[in-house]
Symmetry: C2
Subunit: 158 residues, 2 copies
DNA sequence: ATTGAAAGAGTCTCAGT
DNA sequence: ACTGAGACTCTTTCAAT
């Protein structure tokens, strides 16, 4: 499925280090990995061209901004062939931040971020119920996020 | 729940713009929002001190790196009071990247990233079954991620 | 491919408003 | 609080290896 990439140990080390600290400078990262800053630069450009590294994302504290409710929604479809049309409708709801087509009980799995329970209730009741093709939904409100991290991408090396 | 922050329109605009493009320079962002680069700098430092902005994260294409399997795991606990001890064990499994304590059918909700189905099977069968307190689990393998975006943080303004 | 140095661009500080 | 300019740091390019 995934194309041959031929990444070496240094490539993986760069990705791993930058997943832990995306703001480290090329010079400092070079020191840490015993190569020059120029080499780090060349490798990162290569990884960006290969679309392995997609860029940087701002990390914000949603709770601090007043988004107190994170919830997961399991969606049952009337027919699984309705996935594309239902997905298109769900994407129009700005509170829905993630959507996966899944195996198992639910046809699709959504993640939603809201300011409060009232807003969640509004989206679940007024927005989702309007969408044709959704049989029913099950909502799991997050009471606590205990973990949110990156996968470890170092293989046998290092 | 969330403390009084007193962010103004410019603060929200900066966060919104940087969520869409985390790598824009202060000068360019200033031009876009009709203030100087120095003002953008001051505001971002303030937002970092307030812990609203937590920094930047490297965005990588897991599929390109050979992590072909993303799955969600609903965990049923024998007693919900076992959450902390089970969470501690789950955190030891590097493939588990996210963990939430939830309301609803499941006591907890995990997200897992694996290289292939064999690795997923290994974690589900060999690692999870070892953990005391887990009654059973339900796994939803993602066949397609249709959406992964940030919430829109602009209130009445703009 | 990697290096080191020079050029260019960005961040950070600060005095003035 | 915002600005603009100077100091500093980082990224980017490139000739040499």
């Amino acid at each position: 499925m995934s194309a041959k990439l031929n990444l070496d140990k240094l490539d993986y080390q760069i990705i791993q280090e930058m997943m832990e600290d995306a703001e480290i400078s090329y010079a400092d990262l070079g020191k840490k990995l015993f190569v020059s800053g120029g080499t780090i630069h060349v490798r990162i450009k290569k990884l960006e061209e290969l679309k392995v590294v997609k860029g940087k994302k701002l990390s914000v504290d949603l709770k601090a901004l007043g988004y107190d409710v994170i919830a997961f929604i399991g969606v049952y479809l009337e027919k699984s062939s309705l996935y594309d049309t239902v997905a298109k409708e769900l994407k129009k709801i700005p509170q829905i931040v993630r959507l996966n087509y899944t195996t198992g009980n639910y046809s699709m799995f959504a993640e939603i971020v809201c300011k409060d329970i009232q807003e969640l209730r509004y989206v679940l009741h007024d927005e989702l119920q309007k969408i044709k093709g959704i049989e029913r939904t099950e909502t799991f409100i997050s009471l606590e996020e205990s973990l949110d991290r990156n996968v470890v991408v170092l293989p046998e090396n290092c």
